[in-house]
Symmetry: D2
Amino acid sequence: MVEVFSTSYRVAWVDTDAAGVVHFTNFFRMFERAEEDFYLSLGFSFKDIAERYGVWFPRVEAFCRYKSPAYFGDLLTIKLRIMELGEKHVKYRFRVMRKEELLAEGYVVVVAAEKERNVSTRIPDDVKMKLQPYVSER
Amino acid sequence: MVEVFSTSYRVAWVDTDAAGVVHFTNFFRMFERAEEDFYLSLGFSFKDIAERYGVWFPRVEAFCRYKSPAYFGDLLTIKLRIMELGEKHVKYRFRVMRKEELLAEGYVVVVAAEKERNVSTRIPDDVKMKLQPYVSER
Amino acid sequence: MVEVFSTSYRVAWVDTDAAGVVHFTNFFRMFERAEEDFYLSLGFSFKDIAERYGVWFPRVEAFCRYKSPAYFGDLLTIKLRIMELGEKHVKYRFRVMRKEELLAEGYVVVVAAEKERNVSTRIPDDVKMKLQPYVSER
Amino acid sequence: MVEVFSTSYRVAWVDTDAAGVVHFTNFFRMFERAEEDFYLSLGFSFKDIAERYGVWFPRVEAFCRYKSPAYFGDLLTIKLRIMELGEKHVKYRFRVMRKEELLAEGYVVVVAAEKERNVSTRIPDDVKMKLQPYVSER
């Protein structure tokens, strides 16, 4: 049974643009917000991992497909699954929903990197173990 | 001979994050900035097209691959080419360079849409004609 | 007895800058976020007022004094009171706290404006009535 | 004779909000952009000062008064003067113009701080000397 993490986000006025809809870049902010909330739900944060292991997770790829606009005041749900969990990288999949409607979906690939030397490294074992239940190949 | 449009961007303090590098979402802002400068170089703007033809260009896909970080104060060059120019859509390709070094590359697909009814429509002919020289299949 | 509205905000990675702290402009985003949450708590939104009365609330002044930095992951409380409630304007006061520590405080003055003609107008009566309990002269 | 530093800024689509105008927080981004361009014109940057002297300039106050909206595509001029140049602080004054029309004006107070200990310190002498010609009491 694959776990899916879900968090909610209320669209702010500042997220909109002159077309009256959420600016496309702000979906990537939502993806990152979901990733942050996901980590918190697992009991740690980017900062903890950086401090404990000297490791952080620069983004190496980001993609979004836009289906339908989001508007000011919308209460959105962002769903996160893990599509790939490698030795050194994680590929997160995101879906942004308004009730049952899919507004946008995409992914972000992050790579574990040694903070000091800025070279890729293995994902710390206990982080990896906590991510495992969210891995889904579909 | 394929044209490539080039514009420059100086990284602002607000573009950076606590890792000391440009936040990944801001590369998508640079892509859009390049698209805006490109349009200006052709003699029109999003606003002109919206007013003249009742057409605008919502984004339907956005992708970026990150190679190397950008830092506060960097003078970047953003290069724009057109990878696909359809009846109704444009696929722009972007490269973000610091001198000769490629920092990030990606694409954005936009679709012409009737502003009032929000349905896809043909790209206005004179817009399409001006985009044509920038189309490259590579 | 004066009411104070309170809402919480978790600092996102994108809110930080290369100094490792929340960028000063993002406190103004928090102010607006608090205003939006406040309106929701009263049962309406900017959008509702715009649609029902053809009135919206452009900002005419914004001020913030920064006492102490906020960091990634901080759970902040934003407190809102109303310092002035005029015929046509509202002056909101905001305090951003991390537990008992005041990080920043400031105000925003908004003016009711007719959406179509963009001239100042009276705040709709039922909006004003709902704001009244939050007015404090201190 | 008092010097005024001037820089220009083209309003981007992402700067606008659903009211069709530049979001109020983005004027503070313009202020900072002007400050960065100003420093560059003097031959240094925030980063240089941080590296050379271990000093940076956290903001302690920010204010803006909004007169008239700015729109997508507007070519704005941002004018910077120095209202106060103390031992440890600088108060910058900004005006955002569209041709001859004043759209917004405000100020930002920054304080020199030791990067390592985060306590206020004297502005380095050669920085101060370069700022001097821009000081105006009006």
